[in-house]
Symmetry: C2
Subunit: 616 residues, 2 copies
């Protein structure tokens, strides 16, 4: 099985040129000497969950965040890491492939070798399976040569998604000990990074010296929080999909007879759909988060689309493009409830043939109403994280069919006078996952790989590598690390009036922020998108010339840089301290006391009110 | 409906840069003076059909081919076209959109305006509908500004495919007369160019002064003959699809659990599938032409794929990519026969619900064997050219299902010992049709637009614009024109032992040549493609840097340049004439006679034997 991993292969002209591209490093990581500055202890964003998290992660919760600075940075407390003994580092691809993953390996390899030529980077073959079975491949220049800046995870492969059970966790520890690893780097999304945090905690508890480090790599773009602005692969996926969506828009406008319903891969959150809509301006996009917030039923959504088709027909437009995130089906309340019942019956071991007869009356009624193809898909076994098999459920076909039925009814009734409604359905997912990564993803992943090395050199455990201020050019990027446990939240479900169930702490996927700037931008334009066909074609992903350096719109409009601001705050506090030293004038001291008193009062009030809010 | 045509629109950074790209002209078209040299009268490639064609096209068959040469070309008979009165030219998009179509309009516009600023180019809105209804838009610099080097046909739109009935032909003539057009340029594939030839003939017969000119533009790449090396759009479609196929290959190799079955748009011939296979090296491609030549049944094909899956599983490979041209279904003998019966019943007005009960016993048995989804698709009304609705028939799903059933059987029986077979199906068509055209398609279309002008200036009617020697750089391209009727063939069907039915002369789609070099290249590599996963990713379509100037592999390996050779032959004959002039030595004359006698004998024998062959 592993005989083909890491072998050199025939590359096309474009691929060859890509292997020659050398991503830039931000100033803080240039040269062989890097300083690390520790900030305050990181706390969970959800204060209400902090206790549960700190209880579950006694060794790794509450560690400080870290900033990596250049050697010459004028920061008194920053520590220069001067010892670089030969190390052994393992790296593993977990979860679904995301474009750019190979560059994390490359970046880490370069950083390791730059600091000590005797260090070794060991890749696990076939993902977590390889980790448990100790199937390895030593990463060398030769292995890397045809995988630099290339898509897929085929240099090392990936299989299973999780390292979760006690047996798996112990297996991973045994491998790390047997291979004498100084660090284990886990490349993946929310699930894999939760696993990384758990491994780190278990290793610390068991005094296993291997440090565990997570890297945010997932095409879904749903690993997003105060420390992580975006994930590796998201930009590429959105660019490849936007190109195709735009082509469909041009096609729809040229042929003037079809509605294209396009479902987009991206798991439960709608980040991919939002970004693609901002890139290509389709007529409609139905975000799962909007549907969930407004509790829209499948009939509400159908009606919305039908009204849009009708409004367009009145302007003599009988074509259009509608985007649907694959997670939509789980955001529609009644379909979600139906899926929950089905998954519950799966859990009880009820066979697929018998599930429909054991549904509750209302669920059964809904189930029977749905077309046969979708019934079959809803009955599929849930994924390992208990979510539905989103890539297999053709929500776009369901909606197209419901819209067609309704439009035919309106046509017959005479309330709709346009042309017969014609839909063609598509699912865009797999065709983007293996794409050549964009320059942004190449750069971001390569820098993250370097950061992993410095996390290990600083002796940190249970951290995720972070690069922030990403919307600025690479020379303004900030590199750091944050404890994964501080990115965790705890889910609560009410079960009856006084019973609340508490979930395990985990890095949960972030939904699209309906108060965020990216969503606001979409809302501002939605009516012109709907009626005016202001389609925009970002074009195929370019590696040279204009457009090659573009970044996700949703990244650029958001006002982020949390890590930068945390640092800035620290600087202000230091400045106050240095001005108000014993011996300063009474006036200065009084002014400082009065203003700091008002600042702390304001912040206390703000913190207590936000703690009272329930978590989403 | 037409209010939005030709309006300026918001362009992305890549689109904007594309509007600034200025295609190069070959030397023969540079400057304002062009010479035209006439070759011999063009004859139909199928000598047996020549009589029928010449009978159907008395005014336009047998015209000479034309070469356009630079002013300074040393060709005694070439005529300089020196008069360039103000002209009025109409242009219309017919048939399905193909990337690059807009550049034909732009090239023609530039040529027209370069020769006389008072000339006008008039675009018909909404395709043939607009032609008949005289809905027009005058092409101006402003109209063109945001459509240069852009995909789609949305500058003018397109609707119906054909101009075929007497009413339509007369309507088109009335429009041309009312608008006082000196020429009508028809942009399209085999069907539209057949229509163009018919219009030209009718116009000549009716002494309508409008010259009709065809341009070979179709994504299918199936308008191919001795005069036409490839069509505008084919390169782009293959590049966009190959990128996606390659991404799927990388994805399959990374995940190691799926077989991707990918159906490709391209109508009945398999040119797109062949080119994409040469670009991206998938594990298998099933060409319709191979299936037809070997008379493979659906079960033969299923078995072939199953054996391949099994051979791969023995090498521990449980993933793969299989390409299927959309035309495959019509190449499988029993499915074709079934479709013919169904279309026959449609023709008799039998309703869809009643068709299955009126099938012959064997057709009915096959029909009942097929899964319900495909039955429904086979029952769809045929297209206007009597072929099945190929884009709607999910042959890839049918094959995936049959393969799954067979692999499960083998697994149960113990003859197959690999992992459970998992297929995911895709149809790649619409998402490529609206793509930004490749540099090659931009250049080719733009030059064809210029050639159209010179055809009109030379007063030619019923010609197709040709550009040959395309595999060489633009400065080696040859420009010319050939009568469309000489590209026609006549189909014959035997109906019983002595009755043969003869079709109307038409430009028929060219199949993949199973004796050609492109197919040979595929065959040479097919076993390594199948087993060794030597996937190759041509990458997303690039407009700058390496790869931007690449051309279709199938174009480059074929040893074409028919027009160039015809010219070369003419030069040899002239040379002989100039050497063997009255007054030359007896020896020279004798040598010339003896060698020409043997040449003519050889050619006579070759011609008579090829005339005896039946047409494909």
């Amino acid at each position: 099985m592993d005989s083909d991993y890491g072998v050199p292969r025939e590359l096309s002209e474009v691929q060859k040129t890509r292997t020659l591209y050398q991503p830039e490093l931000p100033p803080c990581l240039q040269g062989t000497t890097v300083r690390v500055e520790y900030g305050d202890a990181a706390i969970a964003a959800d204060p209400a969950g902090a206790h549960v998290i700190s209880h579950a992660f006694p060794h790794t919760y509450g560690q400080p965040i870290a900033h990596f600075l250049r050697k010459t940075a004028v920061v008194p407390d920053a520590k220069v890491i001067s010892e670089h003994p030969a190390v052994r580092v393992g790296i593993v691809f977990c979860g679904r492939q995301s474009p750019g993953g190979h560059n994390v390996v490359w970046g880490l390899y370069d950083a390791i070798k730059a600091h000590n030529q005797n260090s070794k980077l060991i890749g696990f073959l076939g993902g977590s399976d390889g980790l448990l079975a100790q199937k390895t491949l030593e990463i060398t220049d030769e292995v890397l040569s045809s995988y630099k800046n290339q898509g897929g995870y085929d240099m090392l492969g990936r299989t299973k998604d999780q390292i979760r059970t006690t047996e798996q966790v112990n297996g991973a520890m045994a491998s790390c000990q047997a291979l004498k690893l100084d660090a284990l780097v886990i490349i993946g999304g929310v699930t894999s990074n939760t696993d990384a945090a758990q491994l780190a905690e278990t290793f610390a508890e068991a005094k296993c010296p291997t440090k565990v480090i997570g890297v945010p790599v997932t095409l879904n773009g749903d690993l997003k929080n105060q420390f992580v602005e975006t994930t590796v692969g998201f930009d590429t996926i959105c660019k490849v999909n936007s190109q195709l969506i735009s082509n469909m828009c041009t096609d729809a406008l040229s042929a003037e007879k079809y509605y294209y319903f396009i479902r987009l891969m991206g798991r439960k959150a709608s980040h991919v759909a939002l970004e693609c809509a901002l890139q290509s301006h389709p007529n409609m996009v139905i975000l799962g988060e909007e549907v969930a917030a407004s509790k829209l039923t499948i009939f509400d959504i159908t009606k919305q689309i039908c009204d849009a088709v009708q409004a367009r027909a009145e302007k003599d437009k009988n074509h259009g493009v509608v985007l649907i995130p694959e997670g939509l089906v789980e955001s529609i309340p009644e379909l979600y409830a139906l899926l929950q019942e089905i998954h519950g019956l799966h859990g009880k071991g009820v066979s697929i043939e018998n599930i429909s007869s054991q549904l509750s009356p209302w669920a059964s009624a809904l189930f029977e109403f749905l077309p046969p193809f979708i019934r079959k898909q809803l009955l599929l076994h849930p994924e390992s994280d208990d979510s539905a098999q989103l890539s297999q459920i053709e929500t776009e076909k369901l909606l197209a069919q419901l819209v067609e039925t309704e439009m035919n009814r309106r046509l017959k009734e005479g309330t709709y006078k346009g042309k017969k409604f014609n839909a063609i359905c598509h699912f865009f997912g797999y065709q983007a996952r293996g794409a050549l990564p964009s320059k942004f993803d190449c750069d971001y992943a390569y820098v993250l790989g370097h950061v992993c090395y410095h996390i290990m050199a600083a002796g940190l455990n249970g951290y995720m590598a972070t690069v922030t201020n990403l919307k600025s050019p690479v020379n303004k990027w900030r590199c750091g690390a944050a404890p994964i446990s501080s990115m965790m939240t705890v889910k609560r479900w009410s079960r009856g009036p006084s019973v609340a169930q508490i979930g395990k702490p985990a890095v949960h996927m972030a939904s699209v922020d309906l108060k965020g700037k990216a969503y606001e931008l979409l809302r501002q334009n939605s009516s012109s998108f709907l009626l005016e066909d202001i389609y925009r074609n970002p074009g195929p992903l370019q590696f040279e010339g204009p457009g090659a350096d573009s970044k996700p719109i949703s990244l650029c409009v958001e006002d982020q840089d949390y890590m930068g601001r945390i640092k800035k705050l620290q600087e202000y506090l230091e400045k106050v301290k240095s001005i108000v030293k014993p011996g300063c004038s009474q006036d200065i001291l009084k002014a400082a006391l009065s203003s700091m008193s008002s600042v702390t009062e304001t912040l206390t009030i703000m913190s207590s009110s936000s703690a009272g809010q329930t978590q989403p």
